[in-house]
């Protein structure tokens, strides 16, 4: 009994504290820089992510210039790139590899992991589960600042004389372990490893926080089966991250040992630069296993949040409940579990035991089933909807389209027999850029357009959004679709030029098309940048709930302050997808409206729930629990 009392007391105290915070005057540094407020941290992640996305995009355009226009002089880049432009006005082949490596690293980790999860998990988890803030605001702040340190380290490596890491974003040793093998494996690689170690710390601090917040800080009535799909997606993503990032950390640490302290975890039997190295007994394949044990779940760390965001946006703008809410959760859970046991499909032809290859092929192709279920559910959600094409909705549709186009080629690559020919060709490049890169990027864009009103209290311009979408959507397809043909023809990835080979010397036309499309797509992003920054300051003032959406974040005022809700946190009485419910006055019923207020639209079993509804909604949990 005594314990209960203490708890109650603490609870009350807790609330008081938050209310005080609401009026608390803080200085500039604590409000905007070392902020512990999840909304500010989300914006910090977003702005940093946008910076990295722009840089990653520019790097890709530079190497696309080389691939699309191999004859053209790049002398005009000399003021920026200096010695990396050779005397003939060409890109240095080693710098080309560095560009490819940094483009991959930046896009996968800094944009689509930190920029996407960091932004939207931070912004939406407290707002959608009905919490004042993250479980630990301090850890959350640390998470951003570790990411910032990591960013600074990675950015610094771009300016080294020997260049940044150049062994591919997968940094396979021995190439990444031996500075003799490639210049980028010198200081550039060291900084890469340091930056990634910091990044992992940031990602773990964030992930633990997301998980704790979702489990512990849900508002009254917000049972797990009433969580929006976004929260489910962030929740699974955080769990995957917490389980897999430490393995990358271990892999990186062993690589650091091999590089600097003479151990032989990954190195053996190497003769390079005129001498036989003393390393003995290590295995490069070990690194690949460790790397892909993170690397494959990483695909879903990137993709699941995007799928979560688009589920929410598609339901809202179709004015329909998402089809198969539980199937969506189930398929995400299944994908999350499977993502840990498919990693070796990246390694079919690395010399790994072929028997392992057959096991991993089996597991890999199983993952297509929940993915297919998700696509079918999206399409059914659109069926008989009343669709409004907001920019967020357009980008979500784009995501589904990319997820389909890119996902389906996974069936080829997951089949080890077919993969022999396609492995490390442009077919792979096309596949993962569509299904993981572009789909996630579109999810991120959809999220920015959709939640911008809640982030900044203003609307982004719709027309600029439409132009941005169509240029990017068509542009991305023009960049990556032709790569399938180039890949079927056998063109290997990470080639500086193909003219050495008769077999790969065709397709100058397609490569030029791809490069032109890449330049246009990058240019189109400046429309977004303008729209984004202009709208922050001068956009049309948004209403509190501009999309007529049902989830809790739209019950906050236009510019939610510290603590999110000025008064009490609303209780939740229903699932998040009561759109176009038969009999209802409006075509949406927000989650905080009790059934007792909507007798005209209640389903029979919901009428039963009315008598259990208390003022704080806690009764409803018991019913949900006992029903299942």
């Amino acid at each position: 009994m005594a314990t209960t009392d203490i708890h109650t007391h603490q609870d009350v105290h807790h609330h008081d504290e938050h209310d005080e915070h609401g009026h608390h005057e803080t200085n500039f540094w604590r409000t905007y820089i070392f902020s512990e407020d999840h909304k500010i941290i989300a914006k910090q992640f977003l702005i940093t992510g946008i910076f990295w996305a722009l840089l990653g995009g520019i790097l890709s355009v530079i190497f696309r210039l080389q691939l699309g226009f191999p004859e053209v002089s790049l002398e005009w880049l000399r003021p920026v790139l200096g010695e990396w432009i050779t005397a003939e006005g060409k890109l240095d082949p080693e710098f080309y590899l560095a560009l490819v490596t940094m483009h991959g690293t930046i896009m996968v980790f800094f944009v689509l992991t930190a920029g996407l999860s960091g932004t939207f998990s931070n912004f939406l988890i407290p707002l959608q589960v009905g919490a004042r803030d993250m479980a630990s605001g301090f850890m959350n702040m640390l998470s951003y600042w570790f990411f910032f340190l990591s960013s600074v380290t990675m950015f610094t490596s771009l300016f080294l004389e020997t260049g940044p890491a150049g062994g591919g974003w997968t940094i396979y040793p021995p190439l990444s372990a031996l500075p003799q093998a490639i210049k980028g494996s010198g200081l550039g690689m060291t900084l890469w490893l340091v930056a990634m170690a910091l990044f992992i710390v940031s990602s773990l601090l964030g992930g633990i926080n997301y998980i704790t917040t979702v489990i512990n800080l849900r508002t009254k009535g917000m049972s797990f089966t009433r969580l929006p799909l976004t929260i489910w997606a962030f929740f699974f993503t955080a769990i995957i991250g917490v389980l897999s990032f430490p393995v990358l950390f271990a892999a990186a640490l062993l690589l650091i040992f091999d590089r600097s302290f003479g151990t032989s975890f990954y190195l053996s039997d190497i003769y390079i630069g005129g001498e036989a190295l003393a390393h003995d007994g290590g295995s490069p394949i070990l690194f690949q296993h460790l790397f892909w044990f993170l690397g494959h779940p990483e695909v879903y760390i990137v993709l699941l949040p995007a799928l979560g965001l688009s589920s929410e946006i598609i339901a809202t703008n179709s004015r329909k409940p998402i089809f198969g809410y539980k199937a969506m959760i189930g398929s995400m859970l299944f994908i999350a579990i499977l993502s840990f046991i498919v990693w070796a499909h990246h390694m079919f032809v690395t010399g790994m035991n072929p028997f392992l290859g057959s096991i991993f092929m089996l597991l890999t192709l199983i993952i297509a089933v929940p993915s297919a279920v998700k696509i079918f559910n999206y399409v059914t959600t659109l069926w008989k909807g009343n669709i409004r094409f907001t920019p967020g909705m357009l980008f979500s549709i784009g995501l589904v389209s990319f997820f389909l186009t890119g996902g389906i080629t996974g069936i080829f690559l997951g089949n080890s027999a077919i993969d022999i020919q396609l492995h490390d060709t442009y077919f792979v490049v096309a596949h993962f850029h569509l299904v993981m890169g572009s789909a996630s990027f579109f999810g991120m864009m959809a999220g920015v357009y959709h939640w911008f009103p809640k982030m900044f209290g203003r609307m982004m311009d719709n027309k600029l959004g439409y132009v941005h979408f169509w240029l990017t959507f068509v542009g991305v397809y023009l960049v990556f679709f032709p790569m399938h043909y180039i890949g079927i023809a056998g063109f290997p990835r990470r080639y500086y030029s193909w003219t050495n080979f008769d077999a790969f010397s065709g397709f100058a036309d397609l490569n030029m098309l791809v490069s032109v499309a890449a330049i246009i797509t990058l240019a189109a992003q400046f429309i977004f940048l303008f729209n984004f920054f202009y709208s922050i300051f001068r956009g049309r003032i948004a209403s509190a709930n501009p999309w007529n959406a049902t989830t809790l974040e739209w019950t906050t005022p236009r510019n939610p302050g510290h603590g999110n809700w000025p008064g009490e946190i609303p209780s939740v009485y229903r699932w998040p997808y009561d759109y176009s419910k038969p009999g209802a006055k409006e075509d949406y019923i927000p989650q905080h409206i009790p059934y007792s207020e909507t007798p005209e639209s209640n389903l029979p079993h919901e009428n039963e729930l009315i008598k259990l509804e208390t003022s704080n909604g806690s009764g409803a949990i018991i019913v949900e629990g006992s029903k299942h």
Partner: protein, 357 residues
């Protein structure tokens, strides 16, 4: 000066664009245009999706059929025919699924665009539908998996005993090939610590008598219609053997020899005639990033009929003969055998050999 003008020009254009945007925004506000309402833009976007669908699917099918010969590589190996078949079966299945889903999705998007006063259908779930589209893909995938598994097991199964043994070695940034020689058909032992800068690039262990007749080649010669077992290793970093026309790919890993068995079905000349291109050559490429010269690791591959191939092999000088200095590394007891095997001394015939022993 010109760059200054360019910069000024760009700034001017951007400023004009910005002004146009500002003015059009202000005009729409002055007109009292209500952005909240779903207007013509919605119809335009819905229509654009249909245009996009028709255009992109049309382009996809047209290009895929019209340029089929451009983007497909002729196949010249036994298992390659099989994996190509699996590839096109998968292509058929997935293109059908892709086309249907795409059309259905974009048509729904167009058909169910916003209309004033219409209400969307409240359709939260349907177990039969969900069951159907879980089970159907699962069955289709199961079929693809099992055909793929069988092919994979055949390809990676053990090679027959009389397979032609050839070793490919990757290093930055070239391939070398070692043949076991015509006398013993066994590759001699190697050790990376024996590699030196004076000639022993294989790290050949000359205490092993199988190494005496091994010979090096800078072209990969292969016999047609005979099983070949490629032994693959790397000296410095990862490389990957890629023989595109034979559908062969296997990484070369320092410290862990790998292998790939296959059977070539067409000689170089047959392929030249088939493609009516007398300059055609099979090629070997590297497909694992290995550094600066990754894109230039090419080796020409020559496929001959078995007779020509055997003749070519017999005409090659043993490595030991090309590097006679290394005779001193051969143990004294084996010196004579080494000289005979390497072709540095005529084989005196069985009787003399017996006497010597």
């Amino acid at each position: 000066m010109t760059s200054l003008i360019i910069i000024l020009g760009v700034v001017l254009v951007l400023a004009i664009l910005y002004m146009i945007y500002r003015v059009s925004n202000l005009v729409s506000i002055a007109k009292g245009h209500d952005d909240e309402k779903v207007g013509t833009a919605n119809k335009v976007n819905a229509a654009l999706f249909i245009v996009f669908m028709v255009g992109s699917l049309g382009w996809f099918f047209w290009y895929s059929f019209a340029y089929y010969d451009n983007y497909t590589l002729p196949v010249a190996s036994e298992h390659g025919k099989h994996t190509d078949f699996l590839f096109w079966i998968t292509m058929g299945v997935t293109v059908i699924a892709f086309t249907i889903i795409s059309i259905v999705m974009f048509v729904f998007i167009y058909q169910y665009q916003y209309q004033e006063g219409r209400k969307a259908k409240y359709f939260p779930d349907n177990h039969y539908l969900e069951l159907a589209w879980t089970i159907i893909p699962a069955i289709v995938l199961a079929v693809l998996i099992f055909t793929g598994l069988r092919a994979w097991n055949d390809i990676t199964g053990p090679a027959s005993k009389d397979a032609e043994l050839i070793e490919v070695i990757g290093q930055q940034f070239a391939w070398t090939v070692r043949y076991p020689g015509v006398k013993d058909k066994e590759l001699g032992k190697v050790d990376y610590k024996l590699i030196d800068n004076f000639g022993n690039e294989f790290g050949l262990d000359l205490t092993d008598k199988n190494s005496f007749d091994d010979f090096k080649s800078l072209e990969l010669h292969l016999p047609v219609d005979k099983e070949i077992l490629l032994k693959i290793r790397a000296k410095d970093v990862l490389h990957s053997v890629f023989l595109p026309h034979f559908r062969v790919k296997m990484d070369a890993v320092p410290g862990m020899p790998t292998q790939f068995k296959f059977k070539v079905t067409k000689t170089t000349q047959q392929m030249r005639d088939e493609l009516s291109n007398q300059n055609f050559n099979y090629e070997m490429a590297c497909t694992e990033i290995c550094g600066r010269g990754h894109f230039s690791m090419k080796m020409t591959v020559i496929v001959d009929d078995q007779e020509t191939y055997e003749k070519w092999k017999a005409s090659q000088e043993a490595w030991l003969k090309q590097n006679p200095d290394y005779l001193k590394k051969v143990p004294n007891a084996l010196k004579e055998a080494a000289m005979i095997k390497a072709g540095m001394q005529r084989d005196p015939g069985p009787s003399v050999a017996e006497v010597n022993e």
